[in-house]
Structures are given as C-alpha cells and as structure tokens.
Amino acid sequence: MKGQWCFMAEKETMRHGKQRLDTGAGRGDEETMQHAKGGTSFTISIGPVHPALKEPIQLDFEIEGEKVKNADLRLSQAHRGIEWIGTNRNPIQILYLAERICGICNVCHTLSFCRAVESIANIEVPPRAQYIRTVTAELERIHSHMLWAGVAAHELGFDSVMHYTWRAREKVLDTIEILTGNRVTKGMPTIGGVRRDFPEKHHKRILETVGFYKSIFGKLQDMLLHDPVIEARTRGIGVLKKEEALALCAVGPTARASGVKRDVRQDEPYAAYCDLGVRAITPKEVLGEVHGDVFDRIAVRLAEVAQSADIIEHCVRNIPEGKIVFEEKPIKVLAQLRGAQGEGIGRLEAPRGEVFHYVKMTGQEAPYAWKVKAPTYSNLLSILPMMREAQIADIPIIAASIDP
C-alpha cells in the first residue's frame, strides 16, 4: 500500500482508505493494535478508548518502525443521532440539545441554532443581547483555547504547562459561572436574545478576568512558543499546506495557521462583531511567516486569546442599554415559531472554526430538518495530509492540533 496522502496531486483518484474497505469492515470491535500484515508494518488504532483522544473518534494507522505509513479515520463512536432527536423536539428544547452537541464550545452551537431560527422567523435580536452573546462566546473562546493549550502540552508530555493553563482557565470558568450559572454548559443564548443579563456589578468582574489573561499572556508565550523542546516537537510537524487547507475546506485556527485568512467574525459579521471589525489572525501577523505546522497552530490560538480579551473589554465598555430578549415568555416564542416556515442558515466562528446549522421549518413545532456541522467535521480530513511522514510520537499532538 503506498501513500495516499496527497489530495492535491491525486485529485481524481483520491483513494484515501478505499483499498482498506476489506480490512476496515470486519474489525468493528478492535480498538487496540491490529494484526500485523506481514513484514514490519502493522496497524495501530488510536481512540476511541485511548488516553490521547478524549473525543471518541478512531484513527487507524499503519506503522512501520516508528513511522506512520497510512492513516484512516473512523467516526462512528460519537454519533448520538442528535439531528434526528432534534426533529422530534421543539426549538426551546433543541437549545439545550444543541448545547450538548459539544460541551466545550456549547454556546456556539446554541447560538448558531438560534440564528438559523431567527433568520427563518425574522426575529430581531435586541442590541444588548447581541453584546451579551458576543461576550459569552468570547469568554468561551478563552476557556477553550486555554483548555486546548493544556491538552496539547499534555500530549507532548509536558504536564507542567497543562497544570498552569488549566489553573489559569479556572478564572474564566468562575466568571462564566457567575454570569451564566454553570461552569461548562452555559445555557445562555435563547431564541431572540439571551437568558440572563449582565448586571452592572458583573462588569468589573469581567474586566478583571480579561486583565488577568492579558497579564499572563507573556508567560504563556514564554512557555509555549519560546520553549526549545516544544519548538523541537512541533516545528515542521503536521504541516498542512495552504492549498490543502483550501481544498479540504478546513476552517478556524486550522485553516488560519496554514495562512488562510478566514474567520466568520470577519467575513460575515454577526452579533456585536459588526461593530468591531475583527480581523483573522494568521501566523504571518504573529510570527512573520507561515509554515502551517503544529507550532503555528499554537501561535494562532494564543494570539486569539489576546484578541478575545480585547473584544470582551470593548464590548463590556460599550454595551448598549435595552431589552435582552425579543420576547420573554418561552411559551409565546414557541407559539410564534409555530407559524414560521422556510429554511435558514446559522453560522458563526467557534473556537475551533465555523459552526454551521441548517434548519428547515414547516409550520410545525419541531423543525422538519436540522443539520449540524461542527468545525471538526470540516477539519477532520486535514488530519490525513498532516500525518504524512509523522512518527508515532507525533500522532497525538497532530490529532490534538486541530482540537477535535
């Protein structure tokens, strides 16, 4: 079996995994190493029950010595049939279902769904709610990127950094808990607005949190970008070329680290981003050049923490007065939505990239169709070219670098 990495060169014959149909089908319940196929090469599976992957996806690798020769993806482990469940519930219930598509960027999924529904029913969201949505989403980005930095460091066997970033992350979690009532599942956006206001007394708290991240930013950079071992482990590893990122439709920091200047907050501004003029961050702005490797992905995410801090600060200082939701009574919202017909798209920039929700309503309470595209869905294919020429030791950090 020869390398099947290159999607660009072999566009017509993109054979990724095709020949493996026979071997792939019969081993549904194998999660550890597979049989050797003769010679020195054998297959090893990482995930779903493997320490390095929290997400239950499974990556199969063909290994020769320490080198990876071939990779394949299997995703069946996480499928809960969420979209189908959604077509049996009303939109208010779906809010919390969408939230649990993913516990890490949960505001993004709820918000995306809300935006799709709002565009169908032509609901106007009050500006104050838009600002609150933005602040919540950006707090979530900080938490997600800090979490990611820790996981990445852990995959590199550098637990001290993980403990440092996760400790720093507790600060933003506390703030989120004060604002929303839970550390993780925020339950903040609702159709036509948000569920909770930021009273004046919380502004100081948010600004203080933001200040904290600004103050440790130098230290974080020092730990992650100026550490010789981290650099040795991530420079030139898991390279995704710009053309590949474009062809494989990568999104978010994965695409940006390869030099694609895309960011939904910039390209199709929504919520308070319309007032902000956010710009996509690529390694060019941070480091001066683009390699598209794991190191660049670290750098981009770190820079985004600082960017988020700025956005939050601006939003808190400039938040307009007014209502926080277009209609306070959920039952009335439901009644209004029952009349709505049509289809809509809600999309936004989650910490990992574009979240996309398609909703079709036909005048019933439950949506007729609902399709969710999480950012990882778009980025997964990119793992394959990244794994070219990787060693076993690089697999965890490369997989983690798209932040699945």
Binding site: M33, A36, S76, R80, G81, R167, V184
Partner: protein
C-alpha cells in the same frame, strides 16, 4: 493490606462512550491544581490494565457498548465503576435516539452515579468519597465481596460468561511480535 490501601491509591481510567465532552473536561479539571485529586492518591493511567476505577461518561453510542465491556473486563479486580454525568446515567437530553444503547449501567455494573450535566469537579470528588464509603463497607464484608464490587449481573447478561483473560486473549490473537 486491605480496603484502606486500595481506597487511597485509586488509579483512574477514563472512557468516553459518546458524551458531549462537558463531563470529560470536568474530569480533567479535577486533576489540575484547583482540585488536584492526586492528593487522594488518585492518578490517571493510560491503560485499563493499571486501573482501579473506570470513569465512564456518555450515553453509550452503538458500538461503544462492546468496547466499554471489554475495557471493563480488561481492568483487573477489584475495581470500581463510576458513571459521570446524567447523559450516561439516564440519557439526559439524548433520552430517545436510534443509536444509543445506554445507559451505562445496562452495559457494565455501576457503583456510583455522579449526577450533573456536567457535575462540577467537586461533585466528582464527592462521588469518589461515596465510592470510598462503599469500599469500606465491602471491606468489612470481606475480601470476596471486593473482587467484583457490584454483582456482575449486568456484565453477565450482556457480555456472556467469558473470563477477562479469554476475551482479551481472543481480541489480541496473533498480536505477537513478528
């Protein structure tokens, strides 16, 4: 040597059976400085062979039941199973679906249920305390009770009667070094 040492040295293996990651990040958070469960002698290990506690999250997606059962069987006795998060306990918002075979206690016997969505790290620690109390009781009942902390009913029903060794050996057959 007894329950007391076992209790103070619980090594943890984490299995995600299709959760939303909310609980999983709280589990990791409970290892990090704010909560630091290592002060109870707990640590995360990379293979079920080293584990004493299985932390299971998620409503068990189709296909994960087999894997969960295997991990359970690979874990040497005595062992404790904790279900973390309501979606693994009774489905939570995923309560009705075509691709779920959960809840967890249908697949493997569960000793402690930690409610929450997600539970805060303290709630997970609280679950650990409950597990300790249970282990103490088991310890009083004698060593036999502790080999299988919970009557292996659920496991037998769903997993057949194969011993851990057989199951494992079969799945790894031919895996010898070439």
């Amino acid at each position: 040597m007894g329950m007391n040492d076992f209790k103070r040295s619980l090594w943890v293996f984490h299995v995600n059976t299709g959760s939303c990651n909310g609980c999983d990040i709280e589990i990791v958070a409970s290892l990090t400085p704010r909560y630091d469960i290592e002060r109870f002698g707990m640590k995360l290990v990379g293979t079920p062979r080293h584990a004493d506690v299985l932390l299971v999250t998620g409503p068990v997606a189709r296909g994960m039941d087999k894997k969960l059962r295997r991990v359970f069987e690979q874990t040497p006795d005595p062992k404790v199973v904790m279900a973390i998060g309501n979606c693994g306990i009774s489905g939570d918002v995923f309560y009705e679906s075509y691709n779920l075979v959960g809840p967890i206690d249908k697949v493997v016997p569960v000793d402690v249920f930690v409610h929450g969505c997600p539970p805060r790290p303290e709630a997970i620690i609280d679950g650990v305390v409950k597990a300790w109390a249970k282990l103490e009781e088991k310890g009083a009942e004698g060593k036999k009770g502790l080999r299988k902390p919970v009557a292996g009913k659920a496991a037998e029903k769903s997993g057949g009667t194969k011993s851990a060794k057989e199951v494992h050996g079969k799945s790894k057959a031919g895996g010898k070094a070439e």
